[in-house]
Amino acid sequence: MQMKTILEALFPNELEYHIDNSMIRGSADTKLGKVEIIGTVDSAAMNQLIAMTLANEILDVIAKGQKTPIVFIVDTMGQDSSRADELLCLNRTFAHLASCVDLLRRSAHPNIAIVLGEAVSGGFLSYGLMANQVFAMQSSQVKVMDLNAMSRVTKIPLDKLKSLSQTSAIFAPGVENYYAMGAVDDIWKELDGHLVENALESQLIHIDDFLTDDRRQVAEERKGRLLCNEIVQSVLTA
């Protein structure tokens, strides 16, 4: 499905947006009032400019003091790999972006991330995975790297990886695996004009709960990550 079609289905009222340098900035009307739309499109390669611009947009929304909800759009192939970006410490700019999303959450703005196309490694870490909740299109691709590349890097035969990925959510790409491991709250199959506003509205009732990261407990319930919650608990009680 095209991005335009998806956005029009999710935001039936007063949707406005523009796209520039693989970034989307816009707004729409919902039953909660205006919501801001901030994110990446076209499988953006996240670089200094994109990370800085997204952070700036978030800070501007917080500075207005209206507790306006933000919907993050995620479509990134991961970080751009370039010497110019690395020389100015791209990881630090990503950390800054993550800190801005954290401030947004602490400032009680309802917020969700919607994975439209791809969500890959560093690009996903810096903002999508920092949001209160992550929703993903069924057709989206969530991953660190594909199995071919993983086989090359780890020197584990592709066949072995393929057969293990049938039973384990731990390493193979796929939105279902990220759901099982607690990083995706729901996979959207049928789109309608209430999904976004309902999600944002239900956050309002218990907005402070999102300050506690419960992904490891969810992962345990969904049997996607079997050990992490137990290990964290044993450290806490040690």
Binding site: A55, L87, S121, G122, L129, V144, M181
Partner: protein
């Protein structure tokens, strides 16, 4: 700097020895000692021999009699990369700090980032580390990160390192997102020749990161120097990650971008900072570099 002692390399030590050499004598108490947790079943299913600590050592200790938490990644096990158990131990220690309020958390980072053998679990647990680090800082507890090991701090651990209150680097330590080898593979040797060690250090190394304000402390690869950096960092007040602070950070990032983005080597940047003989930076000691920055 007192040069009368014999230099002891941090780079060459194991994670356990790094902890032991930094904290007050015999004060380290490991949490989740070897044997108390399972060896990674995720690695076992790939026929890889795991480690009893999954490549990270956590525990409580004292530095100059102040209670601190220690987290040390073992770079010799799978490049210090973060898998499910490894990440959960770090998250646990960070959350424990919020409850028990040590003076600080000392994080000895030595990692290439996500452990690809457990890619999804590694990525998500790095996200959990990021949120936990921010939560620790928002609770007023400083996180002091030291980067001086064989693997530096790359990928998701490069992001985590920059979420610390203070970062202490040695020249040997490297800090970036994509490693030079990765960039060379994707974009070609003209973009980044990963075998050109001098270039790698000029782009990702401690001196560049310190001179460009990406980290706050530059020290020699020497335990005493690193310890002194930690003690100095411990005395600094914690910063609130509020709107004012993040807006200042935003302005600083923007200003660096406007001035220098597009440069592919640090030498022209040092030149524009009016540093004399920028070519000689690689020959200078940490102390001399600190003197240049202080003007």
């Amino acid at each position: 700097m007192d040069n009368s002692h014999i230099q002891q390399s941090f780079y060459e030590k194991t994670a356990r020895n790094r902890i032991a050499s930094i904290v007050d004598k015999n004060s380290f108490q490991e949490v989740l000692k070897p044997g108390s947790i399972p060896v990674s079943p995720n690695l076992a299913s790939l026929d890889i021999v795991g480690s009893f600590d999954d490549g990270v050592i956590i525990g409580q200790a004292k530095i100059q009699n102040e209670p601190v938490y220690m987290i040390a990644q073992e770079g010799k096990f799978m490049g210090g990369a973060v898998g499910e158990i490894h990440g959960a131990k770090i998250v646990g220690m960070l959350l424990k700090a919020i409850e028990e309020k040590p003076k600080a958390i000392i994080f000895l980072v030595d990692s290439g980032g996500v452990r690809l053998h457990e890619a999804n679990a590694g990525l998500i647990t790095i996200s959990e580390i990021m949120r936990a680090m921010l939560k620790v800082r928002n609770a007023g507890i400083p996180i002091i990160t030291v980067i001086g090991g064989t693997n530096g701090a790359f990928g998701g651990m490069g992001i985590c390192a920059c979420l610390s209150t203070h970062v202490i680097m040695t020249e040997e330590g490297r800090l970036a997102l994509s490693g030079p080898e990765v960039i060379e593979t994707i974009k070609g040797v003209e973009e980044f020749d990963s075998k050109d060690r001098a270039l790698v250090w000029r782009v990702t190394g401690g001196k560049t990161r310190y001179l460009l304000d990406h980290v706050d402390f530059l020290v020699e690869d020497d335990i005493e120097d690193i310890k002194q950096g930690i003690v100095e960092a411990l005395q600094q007040p914690a910063v609130d990650l509020d709107l004012d602070y993040l807006q200042q950070q935003q302005a600083a990032l923007q200003s660096q971008y406007d001035q220098w983005f597009g440069e592919k080597d640090s030498i022209p940047i040092w030149q524009s900072m009016n540093i004399d003989n920028p070519e000689s930076i690689s020959m200078l000691s940490a102390q001399q570099i600190r003197a240049i920055k202080k003007g």
